[in-house]
């Protein structure tokens, strides 16, 4: 808690799809190096929140600032901004016609115009870090879900983003491969990466989070340190939500 530098600032952002208000004047700061976990019932706006941050969804009002620069200003170059914001999706979305290595180096080569040898070297180092070096020439269809998701993570990482967004990245995985993905994220968190994680893995949330926010119906209902939140949620809505998981565990 010595130095806190605000990396990402959301000021009163509003988002609706037609008549449906998904985010209601939501404000949120994320500090450099912080790991923020967003939980909440489905349809609460968690995924939309992430998608607004990297411009996949336009917002109706409010401001988003990254490094003090307003990225929601008109005329902003998203292809510049998104180099600083990595995002990993639930469905991996590797490019099926490219090998693992080509998936990873595509953006460094085409967007960042890095030289190939350099990009390949970085890609191989990252593959090694997540234990998938032997899969570099495989096609996505030849990988398990957990392997695909690890590739998707380093495909974002190689761009050297300042912040990483994780949108329920383990939700589509078989239970036995969830762990390998969470381990990669945990290691990433420890290395000081700023992360916003949307997840339903409560144990993991507790282990990885510096701060938890509970989102319901487009509003931040509760914001707390993980221990406090999971032990004694202050709001009714949050405790009811957490109870669902406890009940499931007892069953």
């Amino acid at each position: 808690m010595s130095e806190t530098v605000k990396l990402l600032e959301l000021q009163n952002i509003e988002k609706s799809f037609g008549d449906l208000e998904v985010l209601k004047s939501l404000s949120l700061d994320v500090n450099k190096g912080e790991v923020l976990v967003v939980i909440g019932p489905s349809g609460c706006g968690k995924s939309t929140l992430l998608r607004c941050i990297n411009g996949l969804e336009p917002i109706q009002s409010g401001k988003i600032k990254l490094d003090g620069e307003e990225i929601t200003a008109p005329g902003i170059k998203w292809s510049k901004v998104r180099q600083k914001i990595g995002m990993v999706f639930q469905s991996y979305e590797l490019f099926p016609h490219k090998t693992v290595l080509d998936n990873i180096i595509l953006s460094p080569l085409k967007v960042q115009k890095r030289n190939k040898a350099d990009a390949v070297k970085d890609a191989l180092a990252l593959l090694d870090r997540v234990g998938l070096l032997d899969k570099k020439d495989a096609y996505p269809r030849q990988l398990s879900g957990g392997q695909k998701q690890r590739v998707a993570i380093i495909r974002s990482l190689i761009m050297e983003p300042e912040i990483m967004l994780f949108d329920e990245v383990t939700a589509a995985l078989d239970p036995e491969t969830v762990r390998e993905v969470l381990d990669v994220m945990l290691e990433l968190a420890r290395s000081g990466m700023t992360m916003i994680i949307v997840t339903h893995e409560m144990q993991f949330a507790r282990a990885v989070a510096d701060r938890v926010i509970f989102l319901d119906e487009g509003e931040i209902v509760e914001e707390a340190e993980p221990e406090a939140f999971f032990e004694k949620p202050k709001s009714d809505r949050a405790s009811r939500f957490l109870n669902i998981f406890n009940f499931n565990e007892k069953k």
Binding site: F95, V111, Q142
Partner: protein, 230 residues
């Protein structure tokens, strides 16, 4: 003498005539296929545009082309146009027009299918990797669409070649017609000519279509990546 009927294939320039007939078929098919691919791409892209009027028109066109037997279309273009408007088209031109109209519909549907089969998340993950719209199309969407499309387009080509046998009915002298002429001419000297000639025609079609479908299958296997082994 019965089993010497096969000799009918080699007397005079019969084989050469059959091959020339085949060339006629292949020519009509190839021209129609090339036009169909080109026009079909445009039609397919038009079908993905969210414009109700455009959608309705393309839909009707597609249905009509698929429901109407190609033979009926050939008759309409070859005989109908002449009777009704005095437009006199040669059999070849009529054939190319009809097969292009039909092929465009088929190809258009294939293109549309390939385009919408790219999940929206593919566009988004490209965007999330900081690619511009154009880069997403060039490196992500188009390569996948083309890979899906090529084997299907090749299959369409073989179907086209087979269906062009119908042009015999509007008087185009292609392989089948040549075959019939040879059979007629040798009715008394080689009574079994019909068998050998049609067998030869079968073999010729096979030799043309088989390599094409082999290539299609090859490409399909090489490029099948869609299956999501979770």
């Amino acid at each position: 003498m019965q089993d010497l009927g096969i000799r009918v294939l080699f007397i005079g320039n019969n084989m050469q005539r059959l091959l020339l007939g085949l060339w006629e078929t292949v020519q009509i098919s190839l021209i129609a296929v090339i036009l169909s691919i080109f026009l079909g791409i445009i039609l397919g892209m038009a079908m993905t545009v969210k414009n109700p009027a455009l959608r309705a028109v393309t839909k009707v066109y597609l249905e009509v082309m698929r429901i109407m037997p190609q033979l009926v279309m050939l008759f309409i273009v070859f005989f109908g146009l002449t009777k009704a408007f005095g437009i006199n088209l040669s059999g070849r031109v009529s054939a190319v027009i009809v097969f292009t109209l039909w092929g465009t519909a088929e190809m258009g549907d294939l293109v549309r299918g390939a385009l919408i089969s790219i999940p929206p998340h593919q566009y988004e993950s490209g965007a999330a990797l900081a690619m511009t719209k154009l880069q997403v199309y060039i490196y992500v969407v188009i390569p996948q669409t083309v890979r899906r499309l090529i084997p299907l387009a090749i299959n369409l080509t073989t179907r086209m070649i087979k269906t062009t046998t119908l042009v015999v009915l509007i008087g185009v002298v292609e392989v089948l017609k040549v075959g019939q002429q040879i059979i007629e001419a040798n009715r008394y000297t080689y009574p079994s000519a019909a068998f050998w000639i049609y067998a030869a025609i079968f073999a010729l079609y096979f030799l043309v279509c088989w390599p094409i479908s082999l290539v299609a299958r090859r490409l399909e296997r090489k490029w099948q990546f869609g299956g999501d082994a979770k």
